[in-house]
Amino acid sequence: MSNQPMGNQTNIWPLWEVFVRSSRGLSHVHAGSLHAPDAEMALRNARDLYTRRNEGVSIWVVPSEAITASDPDAKGSFFESPQGKDYRHATYYTKSEGVKHL
């Protein structure tokens, strides 16, 4: 069964991922993708597509193929280790409950 997405070779313009910072002090957040011939046009297309309603003050565009993703099949070994490490969370420390400014 072919379960891996196909490549994008047949698109005449490559695919870009768009990240938008909605206002100062916030991170850029993934907004979606678009096609553009190059980075300059990708930025402009992103401005027209993803910020028509003042959604942003800054945009990043990244070629989709430049993104390295974690392996979804390795979910267990990759992401489950922090589970059980309750002591990393403030809620683990119950004896100090009720003490102010702590």
Partner: protein, 293 residues
């Protein structure tokens, strides 16, 4: 001199930000913004002099006719992304047109729609380049290049207009036409220095558009009469030429050497194209005199 129009709406701040830091990060948070709108100009009571109104009418007609042309592109662009880009530019221009026409109309007790829909061809004051047909994408880009560079230079000066309404509208418009200029330059570079076919088409498009360039920079009596409220267009020419030369050079294109067209749009004498454009634009409104929409 008029008082600067102030937006009728209170500063529209966003109160939805009830959490801080990235908890509030969203790629879809929308706000209407605080820019000057045609509606704000409609409620102001200052009346321009007849001359200033005539001058505003020119500015409004230029933008209106071009917005109408660009509106024809929608759903026909070379790529959907470009449909959106051309739509944005058309919307900006339509906004400028509405503001200028609304202001001009104050002098004569007319609304933006009275002026847009109920004037005949010979009453329009737009220059010829704005009414030229879209042609292929290259022709549209050639027209955009000329217009956007011209409007950028013009509005940059009109920001200092002695008429505060014209100055305020120009300040809003300047930011937008600056983007139109960038859009036109980006595409001129890509079409000029893209493939052999695109180079050939872009050069042909420039040749087609260039006869209409000179008219933009013609001075006339009205410009003299409005004085500090306006800008003598001839004074923009040197900068225009320098900027265009630099763009065409980088795009491997040649400045056309073609004779100028006579021009006459500022006097209400137009090319054959404007009649059809207006017939289409006005047909519905004129079928229902007195109706509101």
């Amino acid at each position: 001199m008029n008082a600067a129009p102030t937006p009728s709406h209170p500063a529209r701040t966003d109160h939805s930000l009830d959490s801080f830091g990235d908890a509030a990060a969203s790629a879809t948070r929308v706000t209407p913004g605080n820019a000057l709108r045609p509606e704000d100009i409609a409620i102001q009571t200052e009346r321009p002099s007849d001359d200033v109104a005539q001058y505003a009418l020119r500015l409004g007609d230029d933008s209106l006719v071009l917005a109408q042309r660009l509106g024809e592109w929608i759903s026909r662009g070379p790529e959907i992304e470009e449909d959106i880009a051309l739509g944005n530019i058309a919307l900006d221009l339509l906004g400028h047109a509405r503001s200028f026409l609304t202001y001009a109309g104050h002098a004569w007790g007319k609304s933006e729609d009275d002026l847009a829909y109920w004037r005949d061809e010979e009453e329009f004051r737009s220059a010829w380049i704005f009414e030229q047909p879209n042609g292929d994408f290259g022709v549209t880009i050639a027209r955009q290049l000329v217009v956007a560079v011209y409007q950028c230079l013009l509005y940059a000066r009109l920001v200092g207009s002695a008429d505060s309404t014209i100055a305020a509208i120009s300040a809003k418009a300047l930011k937008e036409v600056d983007y139109h200029r960038d859009h036109a330059i980006q595409w001129t570079l890509r079409l000029g220095d893209g493939t052999d076919e695109s180079h050939r088409r872009m050069q042909a498009a420039l040749e087609l558009m260039w006869p209409y360039v000179d008219e933009l920079f013609d001075d006339d009596e009205l410009v003299e009469r409005v004085g500090e409220a306006g800008v003598r267009p001839s004074t923009l020419r040197a900068e225009f030429d320098a900027e265009i030369a630099a763009v065409l050079d980088e795009a491997t294109l040649t400045l056309p050497a073609v004779p100028r067209a006579r021009g006459g749009g500022r006097r209400g004498e137009h090319t054959e194209h404007l009649g059809y454009l207006l017939a289409e634009m006005q047909v519905l409104a004129r079928k229902h005199p007195g109706a509101t929409w």
